[in-house]
């Protein structure tokens, strides 16, 4: 069902997170059918389910990695990719596409050094291709979290990244 895309972002889980997860799992594993609640708890702590986290779950629950991975990729709410602090969604709807949003997403890929669907190693930016968001009059359009940018050009990409960087 869901597309499997393994992240290239290095795992940056902390000892505190791992301790919290293992503590939670020690009570969850007593439940019947503990795997789903375990993965839900893990995703709440880490924000996503990288292989390293799945391994902790497999170990604590004493189930195989194959089983954990199978469940993690079956349900659409589980994600194997970290979501960046700033999620940039570039509209690839028809109106935006003919106005060059394909070029824009390529510019972001170049500037950020990631592919669409991925997150930067520092966890700051994630890049997403999205379907029409209904702002064709402003094409090409992209959103950064809730904020909408309209009539974007390739030349704007640098400035948008700089603007977001300046927020931190």
């Amino acid at each position: 069902m869901s597309k499997i895309k393994l992240t290239r972002v290095a795992f940056s889980g902390t000892a505190v997170q791992e301790k919290e997860l293992r503590e939670k799992l020690s009570s969850i594993k007593l439940m019947d059918g503990a795997l789903m609640p375990a993965l839900q708890a893990a995703q709440t702590i880490y924000g996503y389910l990288p292989i390293e986290v799945q391994q902790i779950v497999a170990e604590e629950l004493d189930v195989s990695m194959e089983e954990v991975f199978g469940v993690a990729t079956f349900y659409s709410q589980f994600t194997l990719n970290p979501q960046g602090k700033y999620q940039i969604s570039v509209c690839l709807g028809t109106a935006c596409y003919v106005k060059g949003s394909g070029e824009i997403i390529r510019a972001f890929e170049e500037q950020l050094g990631i592919k669409a669907g991925e997150c930067t190693p520092d966890g700051k930016f994630s890049l997403v291709e999205t379907r029409c968001i209904g702002c064709c009059g402003l094409a090409p359009v992209l959103t950064e979290n809730e904020r909408v940018y309209g009539k974007v050009t390739v030349d704007d990409v640098k400035a948008i990244i700089a603007e977001i960087n300046a927020k931190d």
Partner: protein, 602 residues
Amino acid sequence: MHTIHKINKIKELTQEALANKKYRIVVGLATCGIAAGAMPVYEAFKKIAKGSTDVSVTQTGCLGMCKLEPMIQIYEAGKEKPTTYVKLTAAAAEEIFATHIAGGKICDKYYFDESVFLAPQYRIALRNCGVIDPENIDEYIARDGYQALHKTLTEYSQDDIVNTLLASGLRGRGGGGFPTGLKWKFAKGSAGTKKYVCCNADEGDPGAFMDRSVLEGDPHAVIEAMVIAGYTIGADQGYVYVRAEYPIAVKRLNIAIEQAKFYGLLGKNILNTGIDFDLEIRLGSGAFVCGEETALMTSIEGKRGEPRVRPPFPAVKGLFGKPTILNNVETYANIPQIVLKGAEWFSGMGTAKSKGTKVFALGGKIVNTGLVEIPMGTTLRQVIDGIGEGIPNGKKFKAAQTGGPSGGCIPPEHFDIPIDYDNLISIGSMMGSGGLIVMDEDNCMVDIAKFFLEFTKDESCGKCTPCRIGTTRLLEYLEKITSGKATLKDLDEMEELCYYIKDNALCGLGQTAPNPVLSTLRYFKDEYISHVVDKKCPAHVCKNLLQYKITDKCVGCTLCAKKCPVNAITGTLKTKHTIDTDKCIKCGICADNCKFKAIIKE
């Protein structure tokens, strides 16, 4: 732990307190109300009423009239009916307070007479929604809550309950319509000491929100029914499987479970009768197929939510391999009332084979969107033209869609058919969980079929080939048709494929996936023919088959040319413009912006 005497005392005191409160303001705070801005309204009323002993402000669930949210009702001591105020803001709260409570007059500006909407309805499953505070167990108890449970545990045998349900004629409200009493009878008869009671709250149909409303408005009714089910089949453990997308429902259900445990209505030795029953919530994680009973159980077991082959049926071998019953939220919400008022009361409503009421989520092209509960046998016309007050903007009715992605489209000629399980199946649709989407002349039926197939194709779990490959191929046919590339032979092949999938898919999702295609083929074949033969979309929806044109009404204001995102429109000031159809991407912005209605679709 409370005994029934304590419960009855709470009932009496709460009833008295509610009835004697001079003004009781209840604010609709279900998900829909909150999204419409009910929270600031609630806060505003709370602030104004702070310190007053005459006025109380409480939250309640969904009142059913989505379009009019945020809304409140004011109950007054000595008055039977509350006054309803709608479309409120925080500022309106002050006005209403000044006029209604300080001034003793109706505040006309926000007043709404809900009688047209409510009169044809009969509320059983929704009886407490929009009435009680769902986070306060005492208010549920005040409205006969947990009386059915006490009666069950002290006066009825397990067989009595099964027989009552059988005699009531209650059928599953989640879609299939299997007799609930029969399901309980099978599970009761299954051997084994460990059994389970499950509740399906994984409401996944696009456009359906009945179960969410019940859980958000009256969670105790579901809990009470599940304990009755546990006693009846001999189970001491229950699971409610709720979508994670319903955070408010989950929160209120959790609160309700804690309160019920605290009062000794759940857990060990319930109401001092020696009966044990415990309840746990399990969250879904976004898989439509988990609404299918065996897939849901597989998911509770912590696995990929794939359906299992039946038989063995869950009543024999269900959750964790033990006998299990699974009912949906609305089914459970009916049960305490049936136990209290008797099978005859319930079977007195409805048609020959469908008893009681059904909740529908009314949506789409209709004036009053909302949640309605009607006796079985009410006609579609009464629902759409009566309660729904018809189609907005003077448009023509085209079809009503029931049953979500498993259902079908009902054309106007069946408008007067009484709604029940069997009638809907006979006209190629099904009851489903209760979504009722109204479509007008602007909807393309082929496009609607395509929309549902995109959904089922994405949600197919992939376990069986007829569904996994079949829905993909069906969608390809529909895409071919809507892009004007199909032939009549494709139509025949597509229909044949539909029957193949129906006959061979493993579970309900696959078996019913072709229904949207089959029902539109049955009633709207001419629309398919238009797409295939004439290469036209009569409703002007399928973009590949339509063209925008500028008519002689054009005065040459140049607005459309400026707005066009692809510069497909040319023309000089004060002369008629033209659209380059090769460049046009059919986004419709020109037509939306034209002040002279000079741009048309063909």
